[in-house]
């Protein structure tokens, strides 16, 4: 038992990604159409050339009709998938397996979310009828609980940790400022970020990813067919997904300084991709920085920093654009906001641009030309109870 890798059997040959943000000008249909057309033209195909579609969205539409209707797809198999904040990645995973199985020659994974129409701030989950005992904390507050726990576990002064979290936000803002698709394009100094008032624990609103509308899409084909569509396809090296058992919420051994689901997903992804040392083999990592403490812990769970050292490595600039391993070079959720169904595919879009040398010079990663692998990562849920996706993509 276990997973069987589809390493190098599937290639991405076209991608599209909308601008993320407060897209008052566009509905969900408009966003999907723009992302899909971007991917089609990138791959040099039309919608009828696609054999099957997977749509990732959490609460913007239901069933395959949410895509087949706006795109006017003619009797195509269209599946809507949902897996919390890993929804976009889940769509890609299903499309890739559809192609790898031989069932389809050309598949499209598309993800999108229209969340700004709710009239509320933050993400709001669809209410599921229950007994009224489920906690109703915001995600920001759940992730903020990492801060005192991490400080206590690793003997770090909370103010020092506060500065490291601001440094993470500052890095991602700086990257996003160079990215025309990002929602927030203003640089933020560490000092300014530290001075912001707290909204959840010690987190300020700028420790949180924004809420945004957006969509992204990928065209996938069998690896041997890839060069019929593009000279420089992106090959899928690993797709790993873990759905936790929620034990962290009940297990006294869980201490809120790690996400075991992420560590497990990463181990599996590195096994599939044959990666021994991610810190020296990856050219970039797009990680799920929904909140700054999430990125801090992810750096350790993904093996990009030793346990208890991520805050120091962040301060040293190890994950900056010109650092030893750029993390979130496109600006991350921090700058893009988080249209839940789109985020995973938006991350792959950055890998697509960076590894193919198409990222503009002002935000090109220092590792470009030296390494050829990118990692994307999503988590969904909360510390102690989450789903986690890790994907590895490469040009070679």
């Amino acid at each position: 038992m276990g997973s069987n890798a589809i390493t190098d059997r599937v290639a991405i040959v076209g991608m599209g990604c909308t601008r993320f943000g407060e897209r008052w000008d566009m509905g969900f249909d408009d966003l999907l159409i723009e992302a899909a057309q971007g991917a089609f033209s990138s791959a040099g195909i039309g919608k009828d050339d696609v054999d099957a579609y997977w749509l990732g969205t959490v609460q913007s539409g239901m069933s395959g009709l949410a895509l087949s209707r706006p795109l006017r797809l003619d009797n195509k198999p269209v599946t809507r998938v949902e897996n919390y904040c890993a929804t976009g990645s889940e769509a890609l995973r299903q499309a890739a397996y559809g192609v790898a199985s031989g069932a389809y020659d050309v598949a499209v994974a598309i993800g999108g979310e229209k969340v700004k129409d709710s009239g509320y701030q933050g993400l709001n989950a669809f209410p599921i009828p229950g007994d009224g005992t489920a906690r109703s904390l915001t995600a920001a507050a759940m992730f903020s609980m990492i801060v005192p726990a991490y400080a206590a576990r690793h003997g770090v002064d909370e103010d020092e940790l506060r500065t490291a979290l601001a440094r993470i936000a500052s890095k991602n803002h700086a990257n996003g400022a160079r990215n025309p698709r990002a929602q927030f394009r203003r640089e933020m100094t560490v000092e300014r970020l530290c001075a912001m008032p707290a909204v959840a624990g010690r987190l300020s609103v700028l420790d949180c990813a924004g809420v945004a509308d957006g969509a992204a899409a990928a065209v996938v084909v069998r690896a041997e067919d890839a060069h019929r569509y593009t000279d420089n396809p992106l090959f899928i090296k690993a797709l790993s997904f873990v759905s936790g058992d929620g034990r962290g919420l009940m297990d006294p051994d869980y201490d809120y300084t790690t996400f075991p689901e992420v560590a497990a997903a990463a181990r599996e992804a590195y096994r599939q991709a044959g990666i021994a040392d991610p810190r020296t083999e990856l050219a970039l990592a797009e990680v799920h920085d929904c909140f700054t403490p999430a990125e801090l812990v992810l750096l350790e769970d993904l093996g990009l920093a030793e346990r208890g050292t991520a805050h120091q490595r962040v301060m040293d600039g190890a994950f900056d654009l010109d650092g030893e391993l750029p993390v979130n070079p496109d600006g991350g959720l921090k700058s893009f906001g988080h249209p839940v169904g789109a985020t995973g595919l938006r991350m792959v879009f950055e890998a697509w641009l960076q590894l193919r040398g198409e990222a503009p010079a002002e935000r090109r990663i220092a590792t470009y030309g030296k390494r050829s692998l990118a990692l994307t990562h999503n988590l969904g849920g909360y510390p102690g109870e989450m789903v986690s996706f890790v994907g590895v993509f490469g040009t070679g």
Binding site: N124, D131, R135, S136, A141, P148, A200, P252
Partner: protein, 456 residues
């Protein structure tokens, strides 16, 4: 002989300094939290009443003039939170303050252990006398006989007189009562109180000088004071009405003040309770030697030493007198009736589960083999946060991950807590609360609150 097998009194953690209402006022009144109502306070008092007695109530009476629900019974939520048996009857006596002593009389003439719970929140119009004089609180008395457990104070005599006259009235739905001219009520109540007291003492074959503690309760404060002052009972035996620290908690006042008297009583002491409400009721008790072996776990008088100031505007908002800007987050949906019934033991009784290895699941897991009662367990804070974004009737939400003594972990909301009290390693206990109300459905569940030395 029937009598009192156990008692419990509960005063909420909030205190309103009356000088915030008007500089000329003095003292404090108790204030129920935004997450408290007559039902939750009644649960708190009843838990204390049941804590040290082996008796299992056969009936539960719940009295309040401020019922969270009409039509449906409020006592059933109290029954569920206390995890009383299915065959224990549970009834409300709601609306009038007098109902509280009515349930006590009923319990004294019933068979089997009967739990009497009285709980009230008193509100008046902003700036009015009832707002300042009122208080919030609850008290519970477990009534039974020697065969149910040791009787702590036996019933010696009871007397009632009933009178129809207009002193205080409130149309259903109105937030505050109206009062007739004060001297009229004082005159009528003073006569009624004296008459009931005299009848009860005669039946008991006791003289006023034999009374070791006299409690006179009633919303008409001047009448209550006059009855006590003219009763012939020595002034030092008159029990403090706690007006300066608690205020008048309406239907809860008779049992609450009786609890205060019991806390300080010695065995063999005569305690008399006179309640002035639409007539007068008098109860004569004599404490027994068993009282000596019944230390109150969380005495009322110690609860009064704790408490947190509640700003006047916050008090007004909690009572619905102010309509502040709500958080810009969707309001919670109403709890599902069928889900609540399925998960009844968890939602109301705070019962988790354990697998064969003893690992505790909160909420309980259908895969587990045994139920684990968690409501009386204390716990330790693992990590915590203050959520200024989440929807709450009174933001911010204070929240912690709690590891319970003996196993089990729950991320849970905290209540009755100051933000600067939060720390990893902090000790907490559980309290039954009303999380919110949606569509008129009160959503009851448990929260954690800091354990304070001898605090409630």
């Amino acid at each position: 002989m029937r009598g009192i097998l156990g008692w419990g009194a509960y005063v909420p953690f909030g205190r309103l300094d009356r000088r915030q209402i008007a500089p000329a006022l003095s003292g404090t009144r108790s204030v129920a939290g935004y997450d408290e109502d007559a039902t939750t306070m009644g649960v708190a008092a009843a838990r204390l009443a049941l804590r040290q007695t082996p008796a299992e109530p056969a009936a539960l009476w719940f009295a309040t003039a401020d019922p969270p629900y009409l039509d449906r019974t409020n006592a059933t939520a109290v029954h569920a939170a206390l995890r009383l048996g299915r065959t224990c009857a549970a009834y409300d006596a709601v609306g009038s303050v007098r109902s509280a002593v009515g349930t006590l009389r009923t319990a004294l003439t019933s068979a089997g252990p009967t739990l009497v719970v009285a709980s009230d929140l008193r509100t008046g119009r902003p700036g009015g006398p009832d707002e300042a004089a009122g208080g919030d609180g609850a008290a519970a008395l477990l009534i039974g006989s020697d065969s149910d457990g040791p009787v702590l104070a036996e019933q010696v005599a009871t007397a009632s007189v009933t009178a129809e006259f207009l002193d205080r009235w409130r149309i259903p739905g109105e937030p505050a009562s109206r009062l007739w001219e004060e001297r009229f009520g004082e005159t009528v109540y003073t006569d009624l109180g004296r008459e009931a007291l005299k009848s009860a003492l005669e039946e008991a074959e006791l003289a006023p000088g034999d009374v070791g503690a006299l409690v006179v309760s009633g919303l008409h404060a001047r009448a209550a004071k006059t009855v006590a002052a003219t009763s012939g009972v020595p002034a030092e035996a008159v029990v403090d009405r706690l007006d300066g620290r608690v205020g008048n908690p309406g239907a809860a006042q008779p049992a609450l003040l009786l609890a205060a008297a019991l806390e300080q009583a010695a065995p063999g002491q005569v305690i008399v309770l006179v309640s002035l409400a639409d007539g007068a009721d008098a109860f004569v008790w004599r404490t027994t030697p068993a009282l000596r072996d019944h230390p109150q776990p969380v005495p009322l008088l110690q609860q009064l030493d704790y408490g947190r100031p509640v700003p006047y505007l916050t008090f007004l908002a909690w009572r619905g007198m102010l309509d502040p800007e709500p958080p810009r987050r969707p309001e919670p949906a109403r709890a599902s009736a069928s889900a609540a019934l399925r998960n009844h033991d968890w939602k109301f009784g705070f019962v988790g589960s354990a697998d064969e290895g003893g690992t505790v699941s909160l909420p309980p897991s259908p895969l587990d083999t045994s139920a684990v009662a968690m409501a009386d367990r204390t716990g330790t804070v693992v990590t915590y946060t203050v959520d200024r974004l989440a929807y709450s009737p009174s933001p911010p939400v204070v929240f912690a991950v709690v590891d319970f003594d003996g196993g089990g972990r729950l991320p849970v909301e905290l209540t009755d807590v100051d933000i600067d009290e939060l720390a990893i390693g902090g000790r907490v206990e559980m309290s039954f609360r009303r999380l919110h109300t949606a569509d008129g459905v009160h959503n009851y569940f448990w929260k954690a609150r800091p354990v304070r030395e001898k605090g409630v």
